[in-house]
Symmetry: C2
Subunit: 322 residues, 2 copies
């Protein structure tokens, strides 16, 4: 791998910020750059690094792909407005759901459904229209490692796979946080002045809620997992865990409501202890918390009759299900 990891204990956040701001400024010169802000800590840190380096010559987009958390686009725009960074919301829901129609294979979902639409159609068009020649990306060290190992294709990692974005998509990708793992990214985010709510946020996958729907990703199915995700994030916000999430299964299971059979849906809850996402253990949550989450999900998310909690480690599991 061409990139050297910077371990948390070796990281000087202020020095790292200075170095990356200089590098971005030097690379872009007097040109312009764009970046996509997802609301996760990775892209949030990249947005602030880019803004420090380029000021108004960085255009930051929030792509509303229909796959984000509840109320996310507006919330993120407000948070960054308070930091002096303008964020443009781009409604691309139709494009994403059209590309995801009928797709059930996980890799195809990530590749065709997310990467292709994101880079080529939606974001590629934004970059071309903007005239910018540089794209800032929040790829981190764990993403690279897993993609190179063939575990999972991260949507933001084309160069590492030998894909020439200049030739393929018409722009060059800059990845300032490539040497960092999640803990390092959080430390840099804090030093950059991000609110704690953002820098300590549980990781959210690149393909967003599409990674948390087993089987076909439709607006209706995303709406279900979005509700379940909101409940899990509310109930586990103070858990101290590395990441927590809800997954909508495709399997149906027999249930009973009001004394009648109700052939229903299942939601799986995962909550992970980890420092770097490379290995992870399921968090030993209080049983009462798990029971409360299950009661809320079965009561509040339509058609759900069954809720499970993951008890396997990574490996052999992975953090997300898709």
């Amino acid at each position: 791998m061409a990139v050297e990891e910077i371990a948390l204990q070796d990281l000087d956040p202020e020095a790292f910020i200075d170095e990356k701001v200089r590098e971005i400024a030097a690379a872009v010169g007097d040109g312009t750059a764009v970046n996509a802000l997802s609301g996760g800590v990775d892209s949030a840190v990249v947005t602030l690094l880019g803004h420090r380096a380029l000021g108004e010559r960085l255009r930051t987009y929030f792509i509303e792909n229909g796959l984000m958390r509840k109320g996310e686009p507006e919330h993120i725009r407000e948070v960054f407005a308070a930091l002096g960074v303008p964020v443009e919301i781009v409604d691309a829901r139709a494009e994403f759901f059209a590309a995801l129609r009928g797709v059930t294979d996980p890799e195809e979902k990530r590749d065709k459904g997310i990467t292709q639409v994101f880079y080529k159609d939606v974001f590629g068009k934004l970059v071309r229209d903007s005239g910018a020649k540089f794209l800032l990306q929040g790829t981190n060290y764990t993403d690279v490692e897993e993609t190179v190992a063939g575990v999972k294709r991260q949507h933001n990692i084309l160069a590492q796979l030998g894909i020439d974005t200049q030739a393929a998509y018409g722009y060059q990708v800059l990845e300032p946080i490539l040497p960092l793992r999640k803990s390092g990214v959080r430390a840099v985010g804090k030093a950059l002045g991000l609110p704690e709510e953002i820098y300590s946020r549980p990781p959210f996958p690149g393909p967003a809620l599409a990674a948390r729907v087993i089987g076909e990703v439709t607006p209706e199915r995303v709406a279900l997992v979005r509700e379940a995700t909101a409940i899990v994030e509310q109930e586990l916000a103070d858990s101290g865990a590395f990441q927590y999430l809800a997954i909508l299964h495709e399997d149906r299971v027999t249930g009973v409501r009001a004394g009648r059979r109700d052939f229903g849906r299942q939601i799986e809850v995962r909550c992970w202890d980890s420092t770097d996402a490379v290995t992870a253990e399921p968090t030993e949550l209080p049983f009462a918390t798990l029971r409360r989450i299950a009661d809320r999900i079965t009561a509040e998310v339509p058609g759900v009759v069954s809720v499970t909690y993951n008890v396997a480690t990574k490996p052999p599991s992975t953090i997300e299900a898709v």
Copy 2:
């Protein structure tokens, strides 16, 4: 409902046994009867009641449907041989798997795949060949209630649904434990001299492991859930829980083994606290037990990368998944 429930506190096991033995003897007269022993407490109690009433005029079959626990047919024959009750093992694996081929709908699985094959083809043929006009059945009160309510079709409950077994299948069904729930059946089993291993056994569904495979039931998929079931039953034998089981999901989830992606299987573990199976709570198992079960299942059951634990109640869940 025509049958009156006998609650555990009102049950005198010895008096119940005397009454049912007299009833069976009176109904069968000098004829013969047959019954199918599955190894569960319900059919075990019925076998001993029938044996007391009829002696050698009861023929007891163990139908090897390919869907039972590991080593079950031989083990059950030995247990009953020690009680003086001969059990004939009938190999019907081919018939069951042929009927289950391509069937994924839960009701169809229970109905076509299990009830029809069991009553009409396999067991019906045994009864016809034996010349017996009576069939002893282990239907209990909860089975009746759930079938009448439309929650789930129990495979041993035709008369309650208005199906005339005399006309449809050529024999009459006797159901001596119909007034009892599981706790009552266990008390009667103990009084009959069943070994504790049998009378305190966790319930096992009529459709056997077919009820624990989501999607198509094939010999290969049953073999996987059988291994997982053996692990769960070993690890939870001392849990004091009402019932514990493993379910093989049809959904595939992303996993990682030896640093490479391994798109794998998921096993769900359920463990229930209940007195009557009508309502049930997930058991608060020690987290170390759940982790050990997950480690064993991912290590010992081929292709499994993910293990979950049910945390929803019944209702809205049910005890089994199919």
